[in-house]
């Protein structure tokens, strides 16, 4: 019964929260811009509208292009099964679930890349090349952070994220700060937000993720936007899992607060700074790597330094 409840709750989270997150980010940006802004549910309406639309498909493309949104969406939905969401636990909670999670996301990314390259467009090639390149720096840092935290507790599930303070004592606070900061940067990078990428601009040579989906339309585009929302939500959920104390009865409430807070911060960041120049984005991403190394050395200091 309990399990059933968890599944229902987590599913509902994955279904609706991504849209709400994007809605809140947009609302925050509207607020800082002095505008009234659209309703926070607007992304959901957009989604429904997209599903009702017809397709325009490039005649350069092959089956790969049509397959891409389906597979990348399926991969991300299944990756969500391994992450602790609103109920505080994941639907499938296995040791080394981190690796299954990361590789399912990578599968989605693989198909996004080849799907974009299938159009033969130079813009999409550019975006793909950047996206694939950034992932290659983000992923090792992500693995170092989670690997270190898991080494700390000796428990290789995502549960160990919530036990940092119990395991690390006074080091715990520092570890949490740097881990959360690094994961927040990861939300910005993987969610394609400012200062890495600007989701509001279409058709500029500066963009990354948006340019990869220029040729998608209708149902396909709907799935892709939903999938990228879910990806952002999943990483935010990891942040929530780190911050919220274990066994808190109000986990769901705290979880929602964390997600909304992260969205508001993202909106604020987007309104308060400009995109970084493309050649400097690497340096920005390496900040995440250095945070990861700090987390690793803190864990090392705690476990082996006495």
């Amino acid at each position: 019964m309990m399990n059933f409840l968890i599944i229902i709750l987590n599913l509902l989270t994955v279904l609706f929260l991504p849209f709400l997150m994007i809605g809140i980010i947009k609302k925050t940006k509207a607020f800082w811009g002095g505008r009234y802004g659209a309703s926070v549910f607007q992304p959901l309406y957009d989604f429904i509208k997209l599903i009702k639309k017809d397709f325009v498909i490039s005649n350069t493309t092959s089956t790969i292009f049509r397959l891409t949104p389906l597979i990348s969406f399926a991969a991300i939905i299944i990756a969500a099964v391994f992450v602790p969401l609103i109920s505080g636990t994941a639907i499938i909670n296995i040791p080394a679930g981190l690796i299954v999670f990361a590789y399912l996301l990578a599968l989605g990314k693989f198909f996004n890349c080849i799907g974009a390259m299938d159009t033969g467009s130079s813009f999409e090639g550019m975006g793909t090349s950047r996206e694939a390149c950034f992932t290659s720096i983000v992923e090792p840092a992500f693995f170092i952070i989670l690997g270190s935290i898991m080494a700390l507790s000796g428990n290789y599930t995502f549960e160990s994220l919530s036990k940092i303070t119990t395991n690390a004592g006074s080091y715990g606070v520092l570890i949490i700060i740097f881990a959360v900061l690094a994961l927040f940067l990861m939300v910005l990078i993987e969610g394609c937000r400012v200062p890495v990428d600007d989701p509001a601009t279409h058709l500029e040579l500066t963009m990354i993720h948006e340019v990869m989906i220029l040729d998608n339309s209708g149902f396909d585009l709907a799935l892709i936007t939903w999938a990228s929302g879910i990806k952002m939500l999943l990483i935010t959920s990891l942040i929530a899992k780190i911050i919220i104390p274990t066994g808190s009865p109000l986990y769901a409430v705290y979880y929602l607060i964390t997600v909304f807070l992260v969205s508001i911060i993202i909106g604020t960041v987007e309104s308060s700074m400009a995109r970084i120049r493309m050649s400097h984005i690497f340096e920005f991403i390496f900040i995440m790597s250095s945070f990861a190394l700090i987390v690793m050395s803190l864990v090392g200091a705690k476990v082996f330094g006495g």
């Binding site: 599903i51 639309k53 397709f55 498909i57 490039s58 005649n59 350069t60 493309t61 092959s62 089956t63 790969i64 397959l67 399926a74 991969a75 499938i92 296995i94 040791p95 080394a96 690796i99 299954v100 590789y103 399912l104 990578a106 599968l107 990314k109 693989f110 890349c113 080849i114 390259m117 159009t119 033969g120 467009s121 130079s122 090639g125 550019m126 793909t128 090349s129 950047r130 694939a132 390149c133 992932t135 290659s136 720096i137 992923e139 090792p140 992500f142 693995f143 170092i144 690997g147 898991m150 080494a151 000796g154 290789y156 209708g218 149902f219 396909d220 690497f282 690793m296 476990v303 082996f304």
Partner: protein
Amino acid sequence: MIFYFISMLIVILAAFWALPTAIKVLFTGYSVTKTINLGKESIFNNINFVIDPLSAFFIIIILIMGILGLIYSKGYLKPYIEKGKSINSHYLFYTALILSMLGVVTCQNALFFLVIWEIMSLSSFFLCIFENEEKEVLNAGIKYLIFMHISVLFLIIPFAILSIKTGSYNFESFSLILKNNEALADIIFILFFVGFGIKAGFVPFHNWLPEAHPIAPSHISAIMSGVMIKTGIYGILRILMLSGGVTKFIAYFVLIIAVISALYGILYAVGQSDIKKMLAYSSIENIGIIGIGIGVGMLGLVYNHPMVAFLGFIGAIFHIFNHSIFKNLLFFGAGAVYLKSHTKNMELLGGLIKKMPKTGILFLTGCIAICALPPFNGFIGEFLIYFGILKGLSINSFFNFLILIFAFAGLALVGTMALLCFTKAFSITFLGHQRSKYAKNVKDESPHSIIMPMGILAVFALSVGLFPGFMFEVLITPVELLTNGLNGIQSVEEPLNILQIVSLVSAVLIILTALLAAVRYKLNKKIESAPTWGCGYDKELKRAQYTGSSYVSPFLSMLKPLFKKVYDVEKPKKLFPKSAHFSMKIEDIEEAYVINPLLKFDEWFLSKFEKLQNGNLQTYLKYGLIFLLISIIGGLLI
């Protein structure tokens, strides 16, 4: 063609003879020994051929890939036969290669091991230089030959030391010495590691690989990369088994070399535009991943942590199997493309999936599998290695923690770089617009004899990915040979359960994709065809299409110091420039900064002795006289 059938017959006979035994050994765990004994005076005295689970595992891979390679060669060599090239010797050496590989993994006598090893190297050399009328083929082939002989040299030394110490050539007798003398065991292991490592392609002994693979016919590259270089890994595992464990130093040594190999291999694979060279570098990467598994397993042995040892070794062995599947698939695919388009340069291809959809989809399967993405087989092996590393993090040593966490992140980095490399390879070769006349050469689908082996391999890749539990249980017996020095009952329940969940997830992934496709179909929306969006311009600019080198350029520019880029540029000059060109090649830094200077030094040093050989008969007579004098005086003195 008659030689094709003879070769096929011999390989199939070998399969009938060896496969049942191998499968039985693998399932039961009991080894089978065959001793050749021709009397005390003969050198054919007491030579053991043993099929233990480890050999059995390799025998199965060799035979499966051997037969598939033969089927493929029928389609691949057809244009050559039509051109009037003789292929008889090719099949002769092919059979020799398969049989000698079977010999290498079963022979347990040092002398005969070396002889068979040499037959394997030589036959693969002759297979490599199939197109020997071309200069670069011969050059690369000779480089391969030289490397293989350096490898043999490093194998002869430790074997000689061991057989002098024990007075026997049998592997069993070596075991005792290795177990008792730790300092000697370390030196012996390192010598063996270098010898076998040259064959396997560990960095810094890898230089022959990216040269030899591109020149060989595709089924030979496939056999060499998918199976033959694994005999190097086999050798390392065999020595590990004989010495029954290693010191801490060796374990870290192997792990660090392996991580470096994996990173180095994939880094250079990203930069290549020659499709087969890219696959060759990716073999170095995969050997590195296998090495990481072995290193983690060794750490488990050193720190007496059965689970870590078990996961490391089973991950490594699983990955050996997986790599032989998807690497063969990819080389077959690359060969199919080369056959139709007559180029190996990806930058000249593009849009091939419309002309050869089956080849394209099968090649894509290989690409997904080699990136270790679910639901294909590559994921399972890497997952087990990852899991072993995670478990190993709890070993209480700071150095260990540091090395393992970097191995963990390194493996992740390798994975993402593989993603970059293979999305490039697939999309530049098969997707988008056709880039040149070479791409337009491709008119129709590959022949059945090429599609069929690829299809079989793709089915293997998918079914191992969907049902990993079966393979996992089969591979327990060879792993037990490697970990039997450990006390404590090994529980395989945990990884097995996780693998079951992984297989469930993979199945759900496929079902969900099909479901989404069904939903999209049901929505029944109108599909309009239009040119690719070009920012408002309605004519497509095909020449502006992204190229392979621009695809990886942001990544490579980040890691500039790790490459030596060689440019060949002619800038447009004057008002009406007549000609201009640009080309860039990425050169191996090890070759540029280590091997080439060494060779230069060698040349310089040896040139000092040039004067001795001056072609003058009188001088040679003088040498003879001096030699005679020295030997007479020496003889008198003694």
